[in-house]
């Protein structure tokens, strides 16, 4: 899985411009799937099995990024954010555009106001000459993915880890079979408001939704409050700011994890939501849960996660989807 994660994490796909990531994922799932298609907003949907219960397992393909909003006469570009770009992560960052041009991110008053972090409007993109980049072009951050002793550091682990987990889960379900109809849905535009999941779930019309995403951990110096620890296993979501997971889904996941000795913990997110929060409200309502991969430094170029947690998430998902699911 390490190579797949590196490939996916280094791919280019800011919200609304996920096509390069989609192509990579499509090549992985095409041989596994009974059916693969792309819906009107660009979600990649991959069906395995044809059992009576329709389960949607989603992972978003997009990443946070920028859109060029103004280029001055000297050629410096100003930009708007696509998704939750943290100003403190910007200085020294690199931004790549679809045509391959790479810009360095600079900041006004770099040395005279070194202790303050301005808003996004204090930063600029230093574009190469004749870059071909124009107002309206989208860019994504650049960083190498590094694996060391079962630990991965890279950009866009949010949520290419989730994509890799769903791909690996589909691979195992293909081998061992599933009594359900499983739709692996690789969604667009999560970072700008979970937009792909909304239309994707409408089209798929599942009876159960499960989102796979990363979650920030509470095990770092002065963390935002979270019970989640790196290395403590798959994080079964209990609630976040937009989603209270139905008890039976949580209990089902815990039961499968315990049977299979899969390390697990509960996720209670104080900030943010996942595609599951959106899915639950589609059509007449879709009972939804989520499994999160513990990740440090979320929305930076050095998101950090452990292979053991990633594998636990795959294990849990496979255990849930290869066994009977009884809805109350």
């Amino acid at each position: 899985m390490e190579a797949l994660i590196k490939k996916l994490a280094e791919a280019w796909g800011p919200s609304g411009y996920e096509h390069q990531v989609r192509d990579l994922i499509r090549a992985e799932v095409e041989p596994l799937a009974d059916e693969v298609w792309v819906d009107p907003l660009g979600n990649l949907i991959c069906r395995i099995g044809d059992g009576p219960l329709r389960v949607m397992v989603s992972a978003h393909m997009d990443e946070i990024g920028v859109v060029v909003s103004h280029i001055d006469r000297q050629g410096f570009a100003r930009f708007a954010n696509l998704g939750g770009v943290l100003p403190a992560t910007l200085l020294g960052a690199r931004v790549r555009f679809e045509n391959g041009a790479i810009a360095a991110v600079g900041v006004e008053n770099q040395f005279s106001k070194r202790t303050t972090v301005p808003g996004l409007d204090g930063f600029f993109l230093d574009l190469p000459d004749d870059s071909g980049v124009q107002v309206g072009d989208a860019g994504a951050f650049v960083a190498e993915t590094v694996w060391q002793n079962g630990r991965v550091i890279g950009k866009t682990l949010d949520n290419r880890l989730g994509c890799a987990v769903v791909i690996e889960t589909l691979r195992r379900l293909k081998e061992q079979g599933t009594p359900h109809t499983v739709f692996g849905v690789f969604t667009v535009q999560e970072e700008v408001g979970s937009r792909g999941a909304m239309t994707g779930a409408f089209g798929v019309e599942p009876s159960l939704g499960i989102a796979i995403d990363v979650t920030p951990t509470g095990d770092v110096p002065k963390p935002s409050p979270s019970p989640v620890k790196l290395g403590a296993g798959a994080a079964i979501k209990a609630r976040d700011t937009g989603h209270i997971v139905p008890a039976w889904i949580k209990e089902l996941m815990v039961a499968r994890a315990e049977e299979a000795n899969i390390p697990h913990q509960f996720d209670v997110m104080q900030i943010g939501t996942t595609d599951a929060a959106t899915m639950q409200l589609v059509r007449a309502g879709i009972p939804s849960g989520a499994v999160s991969i513990p990740t440090r430094n979320v929305h930076t170029r050095s998101e950090t996660a452990l292979l053991s947690d990633i594998q636990a998430t795959v294990g849990l998902l496979v255990a849930v989807l290869s066994n009977a699911i009884e809805r109350p």
């Binding site: 609304g16 859109v67 696509l82 700008v192 937009r195």
Partner: protein, 344 residues
């Protein structure tokens, strides 16, 4: 001039009836299946030649920002709140028309003689003066809940025009012109929507009933190009007046479908129709934000007229930008094919 009629018509969000009647008169001879839906959207079909099999939706919102009366003071002045996004700092001294009887009023302000500190006033402390001298006389003239519109004449200034509610009556006028012109290769499902300024409400239900394959929204968008100092290194103007209709790449409500953005830009280049990209650095949303998320998803794009002083009593718009809005869309629609929306 249809722009004058539309600009001077009053249709504060949720009371778009007069605007809807006016638009219907202009399109009735050109459309089929015209209907008013449950929320008040005017929906109709401009039949195409049938050469292209696509359900195409085009939307422009009929409503305008304004105010609503919420109570009375003992001296007969009216308390009010905003309907849609209003900047309270520009309201004092503004002429308004109150309620269905269009009772003229003025928003009270402190004369310069008494306001040397130039304090700004919050909307809670502003009042509308309709000349009533007591609570009773105000109450007998105006009921709570009546809507208030800006009282602005439409004026042709030359290459530009000035008037209220160009957001989005200019978009409505362009859509009317498109409906009245030569037929398109596909059936064009038009929606003149209600309550955009309150949160894209009409467009959501219109799109749910139309179930389009692709949608285009005709808007008017902010323009902040004064003083026009383009040498200023970090100046972001949102749009520039006279630089052509603005194609939205991303705003708060939507990331436009890149294939449609490309199609619009290529059309403009091919046909020599000027256009610009709206800066994404500024917030704002359009009906497309609601439309693109309906049902299984609808690839959507926005083409907007740049307007100075948007959401104020008088906006200024360039007539060539306005004419190019419908020219660009007409050319883009004539060349629209399902292949543009196909994925490999």
């Amino acid at each position: 001039m249809i722009l004058r009629e539309l600009s001077e018509a009053i249709g504060v969000s949720s009371a778009e009836d007069a605007v809807r009647d006016l638009i219907y008169e202009h399109i009735r001879d050109y459309v089929e299946d015209a209907r008013i839906d449950a929320l008040g959207n005017l929906i109709a079909v401009r039949r195409g030649t049938g050469a292209v099999d696509l359900r195409v939706m085009a939307a422009a919102h009929m409503d305008e920002v304004g105010m609503i009366v919420i109570g009375y003071d003992s001296d007969g002045s009216l308390r009010f709140r905003a309907v849609g996004g209003l900047d309270a700092r520009i309201l004092p001294g503004t002429r308004v028309l109150v309620g269905p009887d269009r009772i003229p009023g003025v928003i009270m302000w402190t004369p310069i003689h008494l306001n040397r500190s130039k304090d700004t006033v919050s909307i809670e402390r502003l009042r509308i003066d309709i000349g009533a001298s007591s609570r009773d006389s105000a109450q007998s003239a105006v009921e709570r809940g009546e809507l208030v519109a800006f009282d602005s004449r439409f004026v042709e200034l030359g290459p530009t025009v000035r008037g209220k509610a160009l957001d989005d009556r200019a978009g409505c006028a362009s859509l009317i012109a498109l409906v009245q012109g030569e037929r398109f290769p596909f059936d064009l499902h038009v929606a003149f929507t209600v309550q955009e300024e309150l949160g894209l409400r009409g467009a959501r239900v219109a799109a749910q009933s139309i179930e389009p394959d692709v949608a285009f929204v005709l808007e008017s968008t902010a323009c902040h190009d004064l003083p026009a100092d383009l040498d200023e290194p970090d100046q972001t103007t949102i749009t520039r007046l006279g630089a052509g209709p603005a194609i939205t790449v991303a705003d708060r409500s939507m990331v436009s479908d890149p294939r449609l953005v490309r199609h619009l830009a290529q059309t403009g280049e091919r046909e020599g129709i000027p256009f610009q990209f709206r800066s994404a650095q500024h917030a704002g949303g359009t009906d497309a934000g609601a439309i693109h998320l309906t049902r299984g998803g609808v690839p959507s794009a926005v083409v907007a007229n740049p307007c100075r002083y948007l959401h104020g009593p008088t906006s200024v718009m360039n007539l060539s930008d306005f004419e190019n809005q419908s020219r660009l869309l007409r050319a883009a629609w004539m060349a629209l094919t399902p292949a543009i929306l196909e994925r490999d």
